[in-house]
Symmetry: C2
Subunit: 294 residues, 2 copies
């Protein structure tokens, strides 16, 4: 299967799996369930489920189990976007080409949507996973929680808030992104590996890969934000600069940011060297992260 076909298949699997775990709007409270579906379905690159499946493929993990692990991470990501867009945070009106959740519904509903999507992530990952021992599944839950909390993604948001209007060094910017986006990307890769029979040493190497890929993702995001149009991005372009947020482009300049992206891309590929052809999807995804135009 070529990469675009594979990617599209995984994206469709993720969409179906999300649709299956999100309560139907016929269940009370209908408006909340409607808004949860609005914020989660019908959009998104599904980078985290893709990474989860690609890492699982290294160990020939069961695809159904990978679906569950992948959407658990995606639900955390979806919740963070809804809360991140709120007026007290980034105050954004456009996401994935549609009005943000609090614009389409209201602020209180969007707050609860984020809260309930986070809960749903842990509810989903605590469902029975065929072929996974309960002890390993507990490790997976712990991994996802650690990556999402105050010393992971939520902590990254707090560091991001504090950085608005500040002049950061590249090191400080990296510290922020390792938390804000890196932790969850790493969780997606490691959860995929946990769905197979990865050894601790293999997990460590994949963790290193994920660190490079996560940072790469962010550097490319900054480049795209600076260069692309709102229509192409499906979210407000140039908003980092407008909000006076530190980015790799405004700290390093566009040329240096692109050089850094090229270096991270190479390091990510190098980290996968020991896995041979089994890591094909991870290699392809790494290139896709760089070459994507959204």
């Amino acid at each position: 299967m070529d990469f675009p076909t594979w990617m599209s298949a995984i994206q469709q699997r993720a969409e179906s799996a999300l649709d299956a775990v999100l309560p139907a709007p016929t269940f009370a409270p209908a408006r909340l369930h409607d808004a949860m579906r609005y914020a989660t379905l019908g959009g998104g690159k599904r980078v985290r489920p893709l990474l989860c499946h690609a890492a699982g493929a290294v160990f020939k993990a069961d695809e159904k189990v990978l679906d569950t692990a992948g959407i658990a991470v995606e639900l955390i990501h979806a919740y963070s976007l809804v809360h991140d867009d709120l007026p007290c945070m980034d105050d954004d009106v456009l996401r994935r080409g549609k009005p943000t959740c609090h614009v389409e519904f209201d602020e209180a509903t969007a707050l609860l949507v984020g809260d309930a999507l986070q809960t749903l992530a842990f509810q989903t990952l605590s469902n029975h996973l065929p072929g996974i021992s309960p002890a390993r599944q507990l490790d997976m839950l712990h991994l996802l929680a650690t990556a999402s909390g105050s010393r992971g993604m939520a902590g990254g948001q707090a560091i991001d808030l504090a950085a608005v209007g500040q002049t950061l060094t590249v090191g400080e910017l990296e510290f922020m992104h390792i938390h804000k986006t890196g932790a969850l990307i790493r969780a997606a890769v490691l959860l995929g590996a946990h769905c197979g029979e990865a050894t601790p040493e293999q997990l460590e190497r994949l963790g290193h890969y994920a660190n490079r890929a996560g940072l790469l993702f962010q550097v490319v995001d900054d480049i795209l934000d600076a260069e692309a149009s709102t229509a192409t991005l499906g979210k407000t372009a140039g908003k980092d600069a407008a909000q006076n947020k530190p980015t790799y482009v405004n700290i390093l300049g566009a040329a240096e940011a692109k050089r850094m992206a090229a270096e991270l891309r190479q390091e990510a590929h190098d980290a996968l060297a020991g896995f041979g052809d089994a890591a094909e999807r991870l290699h392809q995804l790494t290139d896709f992260i760089v070459e994507r135009s959204f």
Copy 2:
């Protein structure tokens, strides 16, 4: 040990256990960790850890394990209070006799505090629990998630929002409270029982007890809110009436609400009948819920 001594001992255990799982403010991001501690420590009745311990005592469950399960529920409760107090929700300025989190810090920080406290609940409950099989622990995580999400507590908040200014029947009000506060109280009781060797039949009877106790707790809350002063409550008194929220007191009148409380109290005691003296703490807590003045 008499009841007040036992209660105070459990409250202190909960405080210590919360203190131990909350990251120190010396860890970055310091302001977020500071705010998480502010919102969680040094206050609160700790009703959910008390219920967890009381239910665990029926089965002579390990107290350290009960501490972990109890504070996992308390962390969910604490997150819900922080988000509930936000301007887009109840817009409250006083909680446990102190300025609410968004007043003391800021709105964005309070949003992240709630998010990270929720994550910490699942992180805590996915830690190794001595003497509990991983399969049982997964059940406990699933139980807590189900009770907290869109078809439990968060759903109850959404129903509550939609009910402002509406005329509800007693049945509709009960439906709201079963979600908003009942689900988590039930989770506290059942998690405590899961820490011991409760049979499915015993879990069912305790579930029934918890349903009555949860509703009792809410009816008493409505009576206190209508009658007590802000100083006694440590939160803004009379705010339900001021916000035009439906309560048992304004639907049924104070006298009928008190009669209902007496009935629920009796039903709660009755549900415990089969457990004999082992349920002593649950009986005492039930009475305490009614007789408390806060």
